[in-house]
Amino acid sequence: MLELLSYDFMQRSLLAAAMVGGLCSVIGVFVVLRGLAFVGAGTAHAAFAGVALAYLIGWPPLLLAILFGLVTVWITGWVEEKGTMKLDVSIGILYTTTMALAILFIGLMKTYNAEVYGYLFGNVLAVTVEELKTISALSIVVLGIILLFSKELYFISFDQEMAEASGVPARMMFFLLLTLVALTVVVSLKTVGAILVFAMILIPASTAYQLTHSLSTLTWYSMIIGITCAVGGVLLSAVWDIPSGPAIVLLSTFLFFLSVLLSPKRLRHSIGSV
């Protein structure tokens, strides 16, 4: 175990996992509270389509992933605001469309490209120094913005109309939140992959949700759980020689079910109903 930690690649992947785990679980709090869970999933697949296109035409993958991710969340937000279509329907359409585009782009490639599939399933053990720098920079930007606007983001997650009525620029904050979700997804793509990033956003926040009734405590719990699962998952994957993405997600799921069983909310409820 200790010997493993002395390898450069292992140190890099643990650092990347900790950052992605922390970032996803903090943004996840707002995603869970504002009811945007599927926006995360939709965005991840859109970003993956961006990556596939980038490899097809020889552009930087990160750039197109961000572009595809942002366009998807903004369309989703705009549709929700207009109220012309249910959110789950619009996301469902965008999700499948972008996935179809991804498959199309991959199909158009002349040769098999393993790197593209890396973005679909994630491989934290292969994170390079360059990628680590990008992850750090984007994580600082996203967490910094969340810290600056946390009170407004909490308020719109609680009740957007109320927030707007009391003088908070709620619409702007909603689109800011969507933008941060897209950036988080893109940051995490290489590490955990398009399919599993959704779990990293959703599960730690939902686990923390079981354990507290306070907003500020919720965020701290979520972050601690997110980092623990990401780091723990990477260590498990190295020790047992299993893929890192599933290791992280299954560890998170295990903790989630544990929190449901031990939830003070649930215990209180069952005591109350006796």
Partner: protein
Amino acid sequence: MPASSDPIIQFDHATFGFPGVIALKDLTLAIQAGEFIGVIGPNGSGKTTLCKAVLGLMAPVEGHLRIFDCACDELRCHHRAKIGYLPQKGVVDRNFPVTVLETVMMGRYGAMGLLKRPGTTDRLIAMEALAHVGMERHKDTALGHLSGGQQQRVFIARALAQRPQVLLLDEPTTGLDMTTQHNVIELIEHLHQELRLTVLLITHDINMIRSRVDRLILLKTRLYAAGPPGEVLKADILREVYGKDLVITDKDLIIVEDYHHHHH
């Protein structure tokens, strides 16, 4: 009674709605500072539209609406903070993981502005608001652990934490038992008197408020009647608006049976 002659909210032939749908037509109405106004009317009569308009969330498609002497679409954050709002029950997720004090502190956010952290003063104002509704002992309790009436008190405290001039309450007693309904209405009356708040109270329950308000506003997609309760609550006027949903027993007691509301 009106404290000054300048109205703080003034509708001037204002019509609200969406393309093809008129929710409230040709409303002319002036609300003076310090008034206690009850807004009544059947379902779909435009009560919620009036609410959104006063909050500055909906501009008139025709005519004018001035709030604090601003056109309503020019309302800035600091104007909005002057209107404390209690939304209808059910609009807000009551199991949201938030404590009572955290909920009330949200009332400070609008006036505080972006990029500022809540400080000691904001905390004091929030605690003062909780004291006004008699909930200061519960400040660290989870919102979801409170009863319906207590939750309403907390939401009223959040509105008070804005240090508002106007208190706008959308059906504050819906879903509460009779005793709690009375307590909530008494609290609102008390706040109106003690803090000299202008109160706009939207309700289905005419009996609960008729003896307490200065003026009643009766809506049915337009302003049907406005004035002291004695002038508005007349059998012929009410029968025209409510039709067969109106039951009058004895001489004083008026019961409006709202089937959509009670039998859903």
